[in-house]
C-alpha cells in the first residue's frame, strides 16, 4: 500500500478478511498463528512466523476501528477516558490535554457536542456516536495505518453515509493509510482507491477500485457483479453462483473457486493460480476475463 492510500478488502463472510486485518495488528488470539509470509510497515517487518513487533505499534502507528461499536467499549466506564487512552499510553499526555485533542477529533467527525459524548456511558449512545468515538480513538495518535473492520455494518443506512463521509475526510486530512474490510460494495466505491478481493482465504484479485467494481478479471468477482440486482436485466432470471464458498479452515483444491466456476478446466483443478505479485493489478486466475477494450 502507498501512504495515504485507502485499500478495500472485500469478500463474503468467512473468507478470511477479518483474520487478515487482525493479523496486521497481531490480534489473532490463541487459536491462530502466522505460519508464513510477512507483513511490513515501511521497511520494517512487523509480522512473520518469527517476528511479532505489533505490541509496540498498536494504537500508535497501527490502529483499529472495530465492527461492533455497541460492544467495543467497556460498559462500566465513561467514553471520555476510553477514547483518550491511546494518547495517555503512547503520547504521554495528561488527561486534560488528551481530552482537548479528543474533543477536537470528535468535532471534526461531525459530533456536535463532544464533551457531552465523552461524559456519557456506552449504553447511553447511539451506534453512530459510538462508531465516531471508536474512529476518534483509532486516529487519536495519528497512526500511519488504520485497519477498519466492517466499520459500517452495524449502523443504520443514513448514519452509515454520515460516518463514512466524516471518516474519509479525516483520514485524507491526516494522510493516514486505511485498510477497509467490508462486504459493502458501495462503501468501497466511496472510500477505496484500490481493492483486494478475497476468496477462501486468498486474495484472488487486486487493483484499482474503479476497474474492479465495473470490470473485474477474476471469475469470482465477475460472477458476483453479474448476480447483483443492479446489473440485472429486467425480465430475465437473476444470475446466481452455484454452490457455497468453502468454509475455513480447510483444504481446497487449487483453485478454490473452481467447483463453482464456469470456465474451470483440468488445470484449474490441479495447478494453483497465483497472483502476479508485485504487480499492482492482476488476478489469480488461469482463465481471467478479458479486459474490455
Amino acid at each position: 500500500m502507498g501512504r495515504g492510500e485507502v485499500t478495500g478488502v472485500v469478500g463474503e463472510s468467512g473468507c478470511g478478511k477479518t483474520t487478515l486485518g487482525l493479523a496486521v495488528l497481531g490480534l489473532l488470539g490463541r487459536m491462530r498463528t502466522v505460519t508464513g509470509g510477512e507483513i511490513r510497515l515501511g521497511e520494517e517487518i512487523i509480522v512473520s512466523p518469527l517476528v511479532d513487533r505489533t505490541p509496540g505499534l498498536r494504537g500508535a502507528r497501527v490502529s483499529f476501528v472495530p465492527q461492533d461499536p455497541f460492544r467495543s467499549f467497556d460498559p462500566l466506564r465513561r467514553l471520555g477516558p476510553q477514547i483518550r487512552r491511546p494518547l495517555e499510553l503512547h503520547r504521554g499526555l495528561t488527561a486534560d490535554e488528551a481530552d482537548e485533542r479528543v474533543a477536537d477529533l470528535l468535532a471534526r467527525l461531525g459530533v456536535r457536542e463532544p464533551t457531552s459524548l465523552m461524559r456519557g456511558y456506552p449504553h447511553q449512545l447511539s451506534g453512530g456516536m459510538l462508531q465516531r468515538a471508536a474512529i476518534a480513538t483509532a486516529l487519536s495518535c495519528d497512526p500511519e495505518l488504520v485497519i477498519a473492520d466492517e466499520p459500517t455494518t452495524a449502523l443504520d443506512a443514513l448514519v452509515q453515509v454520515q460516518v463514512i463521509e466524516s471518516f474519509t475526510r479525516l483520514v485524507q486530512e491526516m494522510g493516514t493509510s486505511v485498510v477497509v474490510i467490508t462486504h459493502d460494495l458501495r462503501l468501497l466505491g466511496r472510500m477505496a482507491d484500490r481493492v483486494a478481493v478475497m476468496y477462501a482465504g486468498r486474495i484472488v484479485e487486486f487493483g484499482s477500485s474503479a476497474r474492479l467494481l465495473t470490470a473485474p478479471r477474476h471469475r469470482y468477482p465477475e460472477a458476483l457483479l453479474a448476480s447483483s440486482v443492479r446489473t440485472a436485466t429486467p425480465g430475465h432470471r437473476l444470475a446466481t453462483i452455484e454452490g457455497q464458498p468453502p468454509s475455513l479452515p480447510g483444504t481446497f483444491m487449487p483453485c478454490a473457486f473452481a467447483p463453482r466456476c464456469r470456465w474451470a478446466d483440468e488445470r484449474c483443478h490441479t495447478e494453483e493460480p497465483l497472483y502476479p505479485w508485485p504487480a499492482a493489478e492482476g488476478a489469480a486466475c488461469h482463465h481471467p476475463a478479458e479486459p474490455p477494450l
Binding site: S247, L248, G250, T251
Partner: protein, 284 residues
C-alpha cells in the same frame, strides 16, 4: 496443505463420563448398604466388651471379626457403617423427594397465576431462604423434637425453597416460548400445555438441581448429626457417627475416616450426576 475440515468444537469432557461415574457410584453405594448387612450379618447395635481391647479401647481395623474395627461401645464398625449409610441415604433421598415435590408444586402454581399473586407466592420461598440453610434446618429439626423424622422435615423445609425458585424461573421463561403461545392459540387447556410442552423442558433442569440438592442434603445431615441435632440413638447416621466419634479421632482415626469416605463418595456422586445433568440442559 492437507488438513481436516472445520475445527472440531471443544469436547465437553464432563458430560458423559460424569453422569456415568456418578450414577454408578450411587448405585454401588446403595447396593452396598442394602446388600451389605445381608452378607455381613452382624448386629450394629450389639454392645459388648468382646468388641473392645483389654484396656476397653475400640479395636482397630483388621481385628478379629471386625474388619473395620469397633466403636467405643464395642459395636462393629462395618455393620454400623452399613446401618448409618442406609439411614443417611434414605433421609437425604426422602427429604429431597419431598422438597422437590413441594417445590415443583409451588413453583408451577406461582408461574401460572397472575403476575402479582405469583410473585407473592414466591415471597414465601424467602421464608426458606432468608435464614442460612444449615441454621434453619438445625432449628426446625430441634424445635420439632430431635429425631429422624424432624430431620427429614427440617431438610425438606430448607430445600423446597430453592427448588421452587428454579421451577418458577424456568416455567416463566418457558411459558414465553413461542410453541407455548402456539399451543394456546390452538386451544390447549393449561394442564395440557403444561404437561406436554413445559414439563418436558422443565424436568431436566429441576432434576439436575435435585441431584445437586441430594449432595447438599447429605452434607447438611452430616453437619447436623455432628452438632447433635440429627438422628438420635439408637438410630445412627453418618452424621451422628461423625459427631459421636469426634473425640476419638486422634487415637482412632478410623472411626472418623471410614464414615467420612462414605460421605465423600456419596456427595461426590450426587455432585457428578447433578453437574453433568446441568451441563446437558445448558447445552440445549
Amino acid at each position: 496443505m492437507i488438513g481436516p475440515g472445520p475445527l472440531p468444537t471443544q469436547a465437553r469432557g464432563t458430560a458423559p463420563w460424569g453422569l456415568r461415574v456418578g450414577v454408578t457410584l450411587i448405585v454401588l453405594l446403595s447396593v452396598l448398604v442394602i446388600i451389605g448387612p445381608l452378607l455381613w450379618n452382624v448386629d450394629p447395635t450389639y454392645e459388648s466388651s468382646a468388641g473392645l481391647s483389654p484396656l476397653g479401647e475400640p479395636l482397630d481395623a483388621g481385628a478379629a471379626g471386625h474388619p473395620l474395627g469397633s466403636d467405643p461401645k464395642g459395636r462393629d464398625l462395618l455393620a454400623r457403617l452399613f446401618y448409618a449409610g442406609r439411614l443417611t441415604l434414605l433421609t437425604a433421598l426422602v427429604s429431597v423427594a419431598i422438597a422437590t415435590a413441594a417445590g415443583l408444586l409451588v413453583g408451577l402454581l406461582a408461574a401460572n397465576t397472575r403476575r402479582l399473586a405469583g410473585s407473592v407466592l414466591m415471597r414465601f420461598t424467602d421464608l426458606g431462604l432468608a435464614i442460612p440453610g444449615l441454621l434453619l434446618a438445625a432449628a426446625i429439626a430441634t424445635v420439632l423434637g430431635r429425631g429422624t423424622l424432624s430431620l427429614v422435615v427440617g431438610l425438606a423445609a430448607v430445600f423446597w425453597a430453592p427448588i421452587a425458585r428454579v421451577t418458577y424461573g424456568q416455567a416463566i421463561v418457558l411459558k414465553e416460548r413461542d410453541y407455548v403461545e402456539a399451543a394456546q392459540v390452538m386451544g390447549g387447556g393449561m394442564a395440557t400445555i403444561l404437561g406436554r410442552h413445559v414439563l418436558p423442558h422443565l424436568l431436566p433442569v429441576v432434576a439436575a438441581y435435585a441431584a445437586l440438592t441430594v449432595g447438599w442434603a447429605v452434607l447438611f445431615e452430616s453437619a447436623l448429626g455432628f452438632l447433635g441435632a440429627g438422628v438420635q440413638e439408637p438410630d445412627a447416621s453418618i452424621g451422628s457417627m461423625l459427631g459421636s466419634y469426634l473425640i476419638y479421632y486422634r487415637s482412632h482415626p478410623g472411626l472418623i475416616l471410614f464414615p467420612a469416605i462414605f460421605l465423600g463418595l456419596l456427595v461426590l456422586a450426587a455432585n457428578l450426576v447433578g453437574e453433568s445433568l446441568r451441563t446437558r440442559t445448558e447445552e440445549r
